[in-house]
C-alpha cells in the first residue's frame, strides 16, 4: 500500500497499472477515515458521530467507486478498451491517492490563505488526471479517449443520480395528484 502511495504521488510512471484489490480497499478506507475526521471536525461531532460519519463516508465512497469503475469499464470497452473490470476498479482507486493531501492542506489553511482553495483544486485536478491515466493504462486507450470515458462516466453517474431522485419524486407527485 505504501509502495502504491509513493509511486502514484512521486513516480507515476512506475506505479502499478492496477494494484491488488486489498490495496484498493485500503486506499478507500484510509481516504474515508481522513474525510470522516475532517467532516466530524467541521460538524463538531463526538466519537459516536465520527464513527457514524466514517461508516457513511466509506459506504458512499465505495458506492461511488464501484459506480465510476463500472461506467468507465463499460464506456472504455465501447471505445475499444481491452482492460478487465477488476483492473479498472483497482486502477481508479489508486488514482485517488492525491486526495490524501487534503487533510494536511486543511490543517495549513490558516497559513496558506487564498492559496489553500487553489491547492485543493489542484489536488482534485491531479486526482482526476490520475483517473484518466488509470483508464488509459488499464484499457490501453489514448488519453483523449480516456478523457471521453471519464466525462461519459460522470454524465452517466449524474443522470443515474437524477433518475434515482426524480423517480421517487414523480411517484410521489403521481400519488398526490
Amino acid at each position: 500500500m505504501l509502495d502504491s502511495l509513493y509511486t502514484t504521488l512521486f513516480r507515476p510512471s512506475v506505479a502499478p497499472v492496477a494494484p491488488p484489490l486489498r490495496v484498493a480497499w485500503g486506499i478507500w478506507f484510509l481516504l474515508s477515515l481522513l474525510e470522516a475526521m475532517s467532516l466530524a471536525g467541521a460538524l463538531s461531532l463526538g466519537v459516536g458521530g465520527l464513527l457514524a460519519m466514517l461508516v457513511l463516508v466509506f459506504v458512499l465512497n465505495v458506492v461511488g467507486w464501484f459506480w465510476l469503475a463500472a461506467a468507465s469499464n463499460l464506456l472504455a470497452q465501447v471505445l475499444g478498451g481491452k482492460g478487465a473490470a477488476e483492473s479498472t476498479l483497482t486502477a481508479i482507486a489508486q488514482a485517488y491517492w492525491p486526495l490524501i493531501l487534503l487533510a494536511p492542506l486543511a490543517a495549513l489553511e490558516p497559513w496558506l490563505g487564498l492559496l489553500a482553495p487553489l491547492l485543493t483544486f489542484g489536488v482534485f485536478v491531479w486526482a482526476y488526471f490520475g483517473v484518466v491515466r488509470a483508464i488509459s493504462r488499464a484499457h490501453a486507450l489514448s488519453m483523449g479517449r480516456s478523457v471521453l470515458v471519464l466525462l461519459g462516466s460522470g454524465a452517466a453517474i449524474g443522470l443515474g443520480v437524477m433518475a434515482l431522485l426524480i423517480t421517487p419524486v414523480l411517484a410521489l407527485l403521481t400519488a398526490l395528484a
Partner: protein, 315 residues
C-alpha cells in the same frame, strides 16, 4: 525499510495527525448549539465570553502553547481589549477562581472598569464553583453579578503568609547568612523571626492593599463603605448569602447571566457569542479534546481549577 516507504508512511501519518487535529480541536457541538445563536469567530459577536478560571496572576501571556495554568491577567486584559476592538455589546465573565495576587486582580478590575465607564459595553459576571478574594475583585467590576446559590464567594481581604523555619534549619545544622544592602531587604526571610518594625511595615502594606480592594469594590458595586466593611472581614459566603448582603445581584447559572448581559446591552433575540478566552492553545485545546474524548485529559483539566487553594490575594 526503503526510503520511499518511509516517505509514504510519513505522509500517511501526517495526514492522520492533521485530520485528527481538525476533529479534536473543533469546538464542542454543545457550545455552538447552546450558546444562544452562532458561536461567531469573525469578530462580529454581540457578547464576548471571557473565562477567568484558576488562580489569577500576572503570568506570561504565553505563545502558541500558552502561558501555564491559571488565569493570566495579561491574557484577560488582551481578551477584554480584543472584545472592545471588535465592538461587542456585552462581556460575560465566567469566573471560577479562588483568587490570586492583588496586583493581577486589580489590573483586570481596572481594565474592566475602564470599559464599563466608557459605557458602550455592559459587563456581567457569572460565578462558578468559587469566586473568592481576587475572583470577587474582578467580579466587582461588572454591571451585574450572577452567582449560583452554592457558589463560594467573598473572602474579601488581603493575606500575607510568613514562615519562620529557623528551628528546622537549626535541627538540620544549616547556618544561613545574609548579605544585604539595607535593614529590610530580607523582610520576608523565613530564616529568622519577623521584628516588630518589619511586622508594622508588612501590616501597612496589607492594610493599604485591603483599602484599595475595598474602595474598588465600593466603586464597582456602588455599595457604601460602611456597609461593605463589616462584610469584608475575610469570611466566605454562599451565593445565596452573598445576594442577601448585596455582594451579588441575582442567582442563576451562566446562561442566566448571558440572558442578563443581552438584556442590559439591549440585544434583541439570541445574541451571537464569541469566546475570547481561546487565545491560549492548550486552554482551548484540552477542554475541546475532553469534550470529544471524556477522561482523556482528566488530570490536566482538574489541575486547572484547584479545589483547595488558599483564598488569598497575596502569597
Amino acid at each position: 525499510m526503503r526510503t520511499d516507504r518511509i516517505l509514504a508512511g510519513l505522509l500517511v501519518a501526517a495526514s492522520l495527525v492533521a485530520a485528527s487535529a481538525a476533529w479534536l480541536s473543533s469546538p464542542p457541538r454543545e457550545s455552538s448549539l447552546n450558546l444562544a445563536g452562532a458561536l461567531s469567530g469573525d469578530g462580529t459577536a454581540d457578547v464576548a465570553l471571557i473565562d477567568v478560571y484558576g488562580t489569577i496572576s500576572d503570568s506570561a501571556d504565553g505563545g502558541v502553547f500558552g502561558g501555564g495554568e491559571g488565569a493570566s491577567s495579561n491574557r484577560l486584559i488582551a481578551a477584554i481589549r480584543d472584545a472592545e476592538t471588535d465592538g461587542v455589546k456585552a462581556i460575560l465573565l465566567r469566573i471560577n477562581s479562588p483568587g490570586g495576587t492583588a496586583a493581577a486582580s486589580q489590573a483586570v478590575y481596572q481594565e474592566l472598569m475602564r470599559v464599563r465607564k466608557d459605557g458602550k459595553i455592559k459587563i456581567v459576571a457569572a460565578m462558578g464553583d468559587v469566586t473568592a478574594s481576587g475572583g470577587y475583585y474582578i467580579a466587582a467590576a461588572a454591571d451585574h453579578v450572577v452567582a449560583l446559590p452554592a457558589t463560594t464567594t467573598g473572602s474579601i481581604g488581603v493575606i500575607m503568609h510568613l514562615q519562620n523555619i529557623e528551628g528546622l534549619m537549626d535541627k538540620l545544622g544549616i547556618d544561613t547568612r545574609t548579605v544585604q544592602s539595607g535593614p529590610h531587604k530580607d523582610i520576608l526571610s523565613p530564616f529568622r523571626p519577623t521584628s516588630p518594625d518589619e511586622r508594622a511595615i508588612l501590616q501597612a502594606q496589607v492594610t493599604e492593599t485591603y483599602n484599595q480592594f475595598l474602595s474598588d469594590i465600593v466603586a464597582g458595586r456602588k455599595m457604601p463603605l460602611d456597609k461593605l466593611k463589616p462584610l469584608a472581614d475575610g469570611r466566605i459566603y454562599t451565593g445565596s448569602q452573598a445576594q442577601k448582603v448585596g455582594l451579588v445581584d441575582s442567582l442563576g447559572n451562566w446562561r442566566v447571566a448571558l440572558a442578563k448581559a443581552a438584556d442590559l446591552a439591549g440585544i434583541k433575540g439570541q445574541p451571537d457569542v464569541e469566546n475570547y478566552s481561546g487565545d491560549d492553545f492548550w486552554k482551548g485545546f484540552v477542554p475541546r479534546v475532553e469534550a470529544k474524548l471524556p477522561g482523556f485529559f482528566r488530570s490536566v483539566q482538574s489541575s486547572e481549577v484547584p479545589v483547595k487553594v488558599p483564598l488569598a490575594l497575596m502569597e
